[in-house]
């Protein structure tokens, strides 16, 4: 194995269009118009020396190494900034150019430390390479001359260092921060010889606005910005391309390795979701994989009050099977079930549901999408016929209007946010519909045209009001609707939205959004060119989550904003493989590919291949399993990679359900909160330790490749296989590729998917079958999957969760950039320097009324429960609305959330809880009790090692 080498073409690819032919060093080359001479040369294999140019960034023209001669033109233009022209004759190597390049390199080296042999970038330094390339043999200025200013090493960022002494002021870091990440945290301070890279106004990296995405580190051609892991370990010797296991963007990375040790993760430029970019989590926060708290041996215990006992894999698996069989014998076949993981691979998820349906003999399988995007599946399937987003991420590059609803991509989907911001800086207009003033409402070089700060829970009212404006002001794309949608249903819908109770003026009263703002946003969406809707959990996690998704689909259909690049309806999915987990048949009522379990033909296909009869009744959803457990009819649960105690709503109810079960099997990396109620613990593997595939928010199936040996000895899919065998339902796979072959055989949208194809194409977006052998980037191009697009009336029904005298504030929850969901991984990395605790955001007005100051401990109470945390006073939230994250188990934010949920899918109403906030001076009673329980529950009696 060797390092995966990616060619740097020096400047970005030009838009495909007319081509021109020129000659470079006498050789003809044909490239698209607008291509730089540098890139054209690289396309034909001629590398022109360069330092400030890299193909992730626009040409800058500062280093002056890439100068060339062009026949008939005076001087020596820079090849990075000079576009090709037809018939141009370029020479890249002449005596004059050699003299110039050597002269420039001599200057560079005269201002650079001479510690190459002990430098962390030794062997991976472009300055070193270029000194060699131009043949520099002497620095006649000597080394005693003035040196550029060195404000001292900055080691404040936990993941990389900044050593100004090694800086060559190529501005690649500054430009990467601006062009790739869009944060504008870096600049050059001073001028001339005193120029120096500076985070913010001469702050440290950590104190600046830097979001630690690492684009600057990746862009740096020297050791000026270097990963601390490289400084510590040294240069990697081989690399493997794999897929990030954090959010649903699905960034492709090169895991750069030294033996079995990860040296660094470098975003892969050929990754079609991320195009060579990453965020702080994917690039840096992988240290959890080797964290000391990882559990590497299987453990069992009789009661959850006992300490854990380490056992062999054989014993743990046998115990799992015997317990499940015992429970089924005693309480009936439907008394057990399982939960698949959106963090695990498609193959692993498929196996868990196969185990449950085939081995447990029931359909009690569900997945965490239940609590996030289940309304997306329901809503989009109803309107269009497919339970997934309609576009690829590249589509945003062609959007003229972006509507962002209930999503905060700069925190939760940072790499997509960067791609979106790039488009917004090019002039696309932005509409934000969100109770909070999220960063995108106004951040450097991005400002929303309209922000609709609606009261939590009024999504349907506001979206219907947008439709009211579009219909009553004659902005409907009638030809699209007539051709592509059911016209009768449209007319019913149009009549409904036109009613005056759905007008912006009427809705302003319930939503708090001024009517004029709603009208202006609707006009922009309908008439601003290609308009694309991106949404998140602020849409789905409501009692009317499914209705909101349908309302979004209605808007897209009514304006014809679907079925081509630049438009569409795009759920930003939370987990790396939540799309895949849904695709793989994780829901109790559906087999893979969203086919209902009651369908005899579908079931027969699976039964024939699996050699077992399947139950034709949908099984229990997660909340139903917990209810049934409390009622005493559900007794055993297999949970793969999900921490329902922390992530699901109404923690006390979840705890009661788990406590009522006789056998809870948790398969995870760590003793998570759910494991506090478990009897068997099976140590899972990280994404670095196994093969498989993840499917991201754009339906893109990407390979996960094993880069290190499994620390526990078993990949997660192997554990499921072992349980299945012990349960008397053996499955035979030697490699996950064989599982994918079975998925392809059984799933019409996957028939063209295989590991060979994924290796050849890099990734494919389903549907991938005979009709679309290379996958489907944009859906519904010539017609909707279901036939005619379906308009559904979206009556606004206010949630039962209302504020009142006892609970006068509305709580909504979300994520922050540095932490990920329940934090099991990110809390075990240096990311905690940015977010070491959950904070409660509160408007100054509400805070003052309660005598609360910034940083004070406060008690947060709802009818479900109470917890304490510290307050953060900010105008990001409107008066009456408060906000917190749920990353830390100490906070247990979900003690507060209620059992209300989406009418169609039971997706919990996380985003609206009526609460009260009061000053506090310590943890709540629940927190203290839970803390005791957790500590007690995590005791491990280690197996005694035989003496040597």
């Amino acid at each position: 194995m060797s390092l995966v080498h990616e060619t740097d073409y020096g400047t970005p690819r030009a838009k495909v269009g007319k081509t021109v032919t020129l000659t470079i060093d006498g050789q003809a080359v044909t490239v698209p118009e607008g291509t730089s001479i540098m890139r054209a040369a690289m396309e034909m294999g001629t590398q022109i020396p360069k330092l400030c140019a890299t193909d992730m960034l626009d040409a800058f023209g500062s280093c002056r190494l890439c100068l060339v001669e062009i026949e008939g033109r005076a001087g020596t233009p820079a090849s990075c900034t000079t576009p090709v022209a037809a018939g141009m004759a370029v020479r890249t190597q002449t005596d004059r150019l050699k003299r110039l390049r050597k002269g420039v390199m001599e200057l560079y080296i005269s201002d650079h430390p001479l510690d190459c042999l002990t430098c962390a970038a030794n062997g991976d330094c472009e300055l070193q390479d270029m000194a060699g390339a131009v043949g520099l043999r002497d620095v006649r200025y000597g080394y005693s001359g003035d040196k550029h200013p060195n404000p001292g090493k900055d080691e404040s960022n936990p993941y990389f260092t900044y050593d100004p002494s090694k800086c060559i002021v190529c501005s690649r870091c500054v430009r990467a921060c601006e062009e790739v990440q869009g944060t504008f945290a870096l600049t050059i301070a001073g001028r001339g010889f005193s120029s120096v890279v500076s985070p913010g106004m001469e702050e440290s990296f950590l104190a600046s606005e830097c979001v630690s995405c690492g684009a600057c580190v990746q862009a740096c051609p020297t050791a000026t910005l270097t990963e601390k892991s490289v400084i510590e370990i040294g240069q990697p010797e081989h690399s493997v391309v794999t897929t990030c296991a954090y959010c649903g963007v699905g960034c492709a990375f090169k895991a750069e390795m030294r033996g079995d040790e990860v040296v660094r993760m470098v975003p892969y430029k050929d990754g079609k979701a991320n195009r060579g970019h990453s965020c702080v989590k994917g690039r840096f926060a992988w240290g959890y994989a080797t964290h000391r708290e990882r559990i590497l041996k299987p453990m069992i215990r009789e009661n959850i009050s006992d300490p854990w006992r380490e056992v062999s894999w054989e014993e743990a698996i046998a115990r799992t099977a015997s317990e499940f069989k015992r429970i089924q014998d005693k309480y009936g076949p439907r008394s057990i079930g399982g939960i698949t993981s959106s963090r695990c691979t498609n193959e692993e998820t498929f196996l868990v549901q196969k185990l449950i349906r085939g081995g447990f003999g029931n359909n009690n399988v569900d997945t965490c999408a239940r609590v996030c995007h289940s309304p997306t599946g329901y809503g989009l399937s109803t309107a269009f016929g497919t339970s997934a987003g309609t576009q690829d991420f590249d589509s945003v590059e062609q959007a003229d209007v972006v509507v962002l609803i209930g999503a905060n991509p700069t925190d939760a989907h940072p790499v997509f946010a960067s791609r979106m911001k790039k488009r917004l800086r090019q002039g696309a207009k932005l509409i934000v519909i969100d109770p909070r003033r999220i960063d995108l409402v106004r951040s450097p070089h991005v400002e929303a045209a309209h922000h609709l700060p609606l009261l939590p829970g009024t999504n349907v009212a506001v979206l219907t009001a947008l439709a009211h404006v579009i219909v009553t002001e004659g902005l409907v794309n009638e030809s699209f609707v007539r051709e592509r949608c059911d016209w009768d249903e449209f007319q019913d819908w149009a009549a409904f939205v036109s009613e005056s109770r759905n007008s912006p003026e009427a809705v302003a009263k319930v939503s708090g959004v001024p009517a004029a703002t709603i009208r202006a946003a609707a006009r922009l969406y309908a008439t601003g060119g290609n308009a694309a809707i991106y949404y998140g959990l602020g849409v789905t996690e409501h009692s009317q989550g499914s209705t909101t998704v349908i309302a979004i689909a209605n808007l897209a259909m009514a304006t014809g904003n679907i079925g081509r690049p630049g438009v569409g309806v795009n759920p930003l999915r939370g987990q790396n493989n939540v799309q895949g987990a849904c695709d793989m048949g994780s829901f109790p009522h559906e087999l893979s590919g969203y086919r209902h379990i009651s369908g005899d033909a579908t079931r027969a296909m699976f039964e024939a291949l699996w050699g077992v009869a399947l139950d034709n009744e949908p099984g229990l959803r997660i909340p139903n399993m917990l209810d049934a457990a409390v009622d005493g009819s559900f007794k055993g649960l297999y949970v793969q990679g999900e921490d329902i105690l922390q992530s699901d709503p109404d923690t006390k109810h979840v705890a009661a359900g788990l406590a009522a079960m006789e056998c809870v099997v948790v398969q995870d990396l760590f003793l998570n909160e759910t494991a506090n109620y478990a009897h068997i613990f099976l140590p899972g593997s990280t994404f670095l330790e196994k093969d498989g595939t993840f499917t991201n928010a754009e339906r893109r199936i990407q390979r996960v490749r094993k880069v290190m040996t499994s620390k526990s000895g078993m990949a997660d899919w192997e554990i499921t296989l072992a349980i299945a065998k012990a349960m008397g339902f053996p499955m035979h796979y030697d490699h996950p590729r064989e599982i994918m072959d079975e998925i392809a055989r059984l799933t019409p949208t996957f028939t063209g998917v295989s590991y060979d194809k994924l290796d050849a194409l890099g990734s494919v977006q389903w549907p991938c079958n005979e009709k679309a052998p290379a996958g489907t980037p944009v859906m519904h191009i010539n017609g909707f999957v279901r036939g005619k697009g379906k308009f559904v009336i979206t009556e606004y029904v206010a949630t039962d969760e209302r504020t009142g005298p006892r609970f006068p504030l509305l709580l909504t929850t979300g994520r922050i950039l540095s932490q990920y969901n329940v934090g099991a991984q990110t809390r075990r990395t240096a990311n905690v320097v940015w977010h070491e605790e959950d904070r409660l955001e509160m408007h100054p007005h509400d805070a003052e009324q309660r005598g609360i100051h910034d940083g004070d401990w406060v008690k947060l109470a709802s009818r479900s429960g109470e917890t304490t945390l510290r307050a953060l006073i900010t105008e990001r939230v409107a008066p009456g609305v408060i906000y917190t994250t749920f990353h830390h188990p100490e906070t247990q934010a979900n003690v507060i959330t209620t059992d209300y949920s989406d009418w169609a899918t039971n997706c919990p109403e996380y985003k609206v809880t009526a609460v009260q906030v009061t000053p506090s001076n310590g943890p709540s009673e629940w927190q203290e009790r839970y803390d005791d329980l957790a500590r007690n529950s995590r005791r491990i009696a280690h197996a005694v090692e035989p003496a040597e």
């Binding site: 800058f60 002269g103 560079y108």
Partner: protein, 327 residues
């Protein structure tokens, strides 16, 4: 001077240029070191707006044009057209690579015409008097008149506007009447701090762009600085490098690092350290800066340095070895 004395001719020129290219907004970028010019221009623009010469309908025409004065923040390099644009956009004054030319993508990415005051202020005269009137001034390809600033050690310093074609000797000896100190003129620097030094031997050079270029000099902004025989040309060469180091924007390597190394190298020559070798280094450095720099700041700094070295080698060492002729 023209902005302070007749700002309306510039306003008129800019309006004509704006109408000619379809621009509706003009900017006058003035160094903050010229507060009188800023005040005079602002006052004139206020008058022009009041009289409806500027605004929605320029002088009763269907064309719209307005002008805004922006003061620089003290960077010499912001006289360079692309850093001027960056500065106008509120950014650090650093040079942009070309292409794209400002005429294609200039201020805020829009097509932009950038000219100096001299050109724009000449437009009304050319249009009023006709092209022939303008062409009849000057010689060769250098047509019209030039405001020339006579400064330094000169008896009659000041601004003189005259047609191209007059010789350097006439300017210095006849109009300037020699040095103020009464000592012989030894060198003059023409064209600003980045102009070449000419000895008396070149005083027959006509004030003409091509004629100066043929003798490795430049007209630049028309400034002439006179030195008598007490001048140390090595120190003047050093000053050129130092000026470049102070004013460099820092974007391109030859200018950013080269100017500092230039000062150091000339210091070594002045101290007599490895004189021959260091003169070679200096010559190579000037080559790198002249042909490698991104803009004229680094690209023209070699003019004063190399002209001092070529015409006054005795100042760089007792018995300087003659520089070998190129190739």
């Amino acid at each position: 001077m023209i902005m302070e004395g007749d700002p309306f001719v510039l306003i008129e020129g800019m309006i004509i240029a704006g109408i000619a290219v379809g621009a509706t907004k003009g900017y006058v970028y003035i160094r903050s070191e010229y507060p009188h010019a800023v005040a005079a221009m602002n006052a004139a623009i206020a008058v022009a707006r009041r009289e409806r010469v500027l605004g929605a309908g320029v002088a009763g025409s269907p064309y719209a044009f307005d002008i805004e004065v922006r003061a620089g923040a003290g960077a010499y390099v912001c006289g360079e057209e692309t850093s001027l644009l960056e500065s106008l956009e509120g950014k650090r004054g650093i040079v942009r690579a070309k292409p794209p030319l400002p005429a294609h993508a200039g201020l805020f990415g829009r097509p932009t015409v950038i000219n100096n005051v001299l050109s724009l202020a000449s437009v009304p005269i050319v249009l009023a008097q006709g092209a022939a009137h303008y062409r009849d001034f000057g010689i060769g390809r250098s047509r019209g008149t030039m405001p020339i600033q006579l400064a330094g050690n000169v008896r009659h310093g000041g601004l003189f506007e005259t047609a191209f074609g007059i010789t350097l000797g006439e300017l210095v000896d006849d109009i300037g009447a020699g040095t103020a100190s009464g000592r012989p003129v030894r060198a003059v620097q023409v064209g600003g701090p980045l102009g070449a030094y000419f000895p008396r031997a070149l005083f027959d050079t006509p004030f003409d762009y091509e004629a100066f270029a043929a003798r490795d000099g430049l007209i630049g902004h028309g400034g002439i600085v006179v030195f008598d025989d007490t001048v140390d040309m090595a120190k003047q060469a050093r000053f050129a490098m130092e000026f470049c180091a102070i004013e460099s924007c820092g974007k391109c390597t030859p200018c950013r690092i080269g100017s500092t190394r230039g000062v150091e190298t000339i210091d070594r020559i002045i101290r007599g350290e490895e004189r021959a070798g260091n003169l070679g280094v200096l010559e190579d450095l000037c080559h790198t800066m002249k042909f490698g720099s991104l803009c004229a700041l680094g690209g023209f700094t070699p003019y004063p340095v190399m002209s001092a070295l070529t015409h006054f080698p005795e100042d760089f060492g007792a018995r300087p070895p003659r520089l070998e002729a190129a190739e």
